[in-house]
Amino acid sequence: MIDRETKIIFNRAVAPDTFLMGLWSREIVAGARPGQFVMIKAGLSADPLLRRPFSICAIQGNDVFCILYRVVGRGTKILSRVTEGNRLSVLGPLGRGFDFPKADQKPFIVAGGIGIAPLIFLAQAINSDNLTFMAGYRHKDEIVAMEKFSLSGMEINIATDDGTAGHHGPVTELLEARLDGPDEDRRVVFACGPLPMLERVADLTNDSCIPCQVSLETTMACGLGACLGCAVKAASKETDVYYHVCKDGPVFDVKTLYWGAR
């Protein structure tokens, strides 16, 4: 784990309000596992104050890692305006990444919107024709072209909420359609996206007893397990057991989490 002023290699729009940024850091590239994230300070001002967490979305060679981010507020807007050659304060890699599927397993990756970021890195790392990648978007304009990430010849399925591309409906319907049939017990699911989507994935995989890992998002202050701000409720008989997303996650086995009313 390092905390370093890190040089920006590129920072460009890849879809409306969605940017891909490449950052130069041999240490982060060497240490990063899919599912891990970095904390980045946007701007030099004390407002916005806190660093923002971003999943490591891909690595390029030995020196460059990427983040894929959507502009949703002030921090991401500031980032979107930073130009090549400048530096950002980057802390990482942080958190617990995905456990890789075993060689005989059939991995399904399910991404909702910008939740695709950590899953691209995971797909890069699994690097197998056996993998099925399902990506859901609201509209076809939001689709992040996967060609840039030199993924192997995996199956890629798209769903859009408005039917402008691929399956018309939530991405979880794509998953649902593939949960029955032969080799059921070899399936394993990896998901990241908005909470309602993850809840649906949790339901589906629980019902089918399919192992499933999800990557969660919460507000974070430190990213280091120090502030205890990033709590999520654990699936525990005791009512008030919490995990800390930055340290115990962001990737969790769905069965360890509480999926009741949030």
């Binding site: 905390d3 004390a46 104050l49 430190c222 205890l228 701000g229």
Partner: protein, 311 residues
């Protein structure tokens, strides 16, 4: 490395420099060990410790605000037993002051945590957080009533062999009254300020942004308030004061030292810059060296009366 003496004393407690990490923002120290050499710090104040482990408040627990943040962590901690078994052995190996921040929901609980730490090696001092709700008096914090604050202080002193620093709440009409009461009760030092109470609302859902509704405001936003309170307290007590509140760089730390704080604690800044404490130590050293100041003591309390026209 340098000629400037940065050593300071908080009553019986000697610190190698006046920069401490604040309670609740530095975990149990270990969380930052990969990033900075903790032995270069004046000390570490551990997350608030209670008798029993506490899991804290439901999420969301933090929200960013202008130049600050609100937290409603709810004093989540591993509890006395686990602290002694799992955290302290690692902390003991450090060559820096380890101060344990403690709290309770009743005077007895304060006494019990103190007693549990009695005779234990590797603990440099106790910092008593009196900002938590007082169950005995029905919710108002221990720190808002001078008499109650004094009683808690006495109870802790009775049950400990360590120097006792009492951490004051800023959510009071007159912090100097609490400070004086705590001094009279025998505390070795004071630290201030804890967080200001605040809240934020999500205008889309029309609900509070924190599950706990309100939380504690920290960060640069509160610095002017903290500095004012430190100065007011320094004027009326003789025991050392540790300044806390919105310190993010050495210049901020200097403001508190000049105002009369004997040391400072750095809280929220650790989240923004994990090196903040060390950067401040280095910045203070350089400031002194550049000005040929032999000892940080020359800075402490050196605030000049104002010399503006008309005064």
């Amino acid at each position: 490395m340098s000629q400037t003496h940065l050593k300071v004393k908080i009553g019986p407690l000697e610190l190698k420099n006046p920069v401490l990490a604040a309670s609740g923002t530095f975990g149990y120290g270990q969380e930052y060990a990969d990033l900075i050499d903790l032995n270069l710090l004046g000390g570490i104040v551990i997350k608030g410790l209670s008798i029993k482990p506490m899991s804290g408040n439901p999420p969301p627990r933090i929200v960013e605000t202008p130049c600050g943040m609100l937290n409603s962590i709810g004093l989540a901690n591993v509890g006395l037993e686990a602290f002694l078994k799992e955290k302290l052995p690692w902390l003991r190996k450090l060559n820096t002051a380890v101060i344990v921040n403690i709290y309770g929901h009743s005077t007895d609980e304060y006494g019990a945590v103190s007693a549990g730490l009695r005779g234990i090696e590797g603990i440099s001092a106790i910092e008593v957080n009196i900002s938590c709700p007082n169950v005995e008096t029905g919710g108002m914090a221990f720190g808002t009533d001078p008499d109650v604050a004094a009683k808690v202080t006495e109870e802790v002193l009775k049950n400990t062999d360590k120097p006792v620093i009492v951490k004051l709440s800023p959510n009071v009409t007159d912090i100097t009254a609490v400070a004086k009461a705590v001094e009279k009760a025998g505390a070795h030092g004071l630290s201030l300020i804890n967080t200001l109470t605040g809240m934020a609302i999500d205008i889309d859902t029309r609900s509070p942004r924190l599950a706990n509704i309100s939380g504690g405001l920290s960060g640069p936003a509160i610095r002017p308030v903290a500095l004012y309170m430190v100065r007011e307290v320094v004027k009326v007590v003789r025991i050392p004061v540790i300044g806390i509140g919105g310190i993010i760089n050495y210049q901020d730390a200097l403001e508190f030292l000049i105002a009369g704080a004997r040391a400072v604690q750095v809280g929220t800044a650790n989240f923004v810059n994990p090196r903040a404490t060390l950067d401040i130590v280095e910045g203070l050293r350089k400031y002194c060296e550049d000005r040929k100041i032999a000892s940080i003591d020359e800075i402490i309390g050196s605030l000049k009366g104002n010399t503006q026209p008309g005064e």
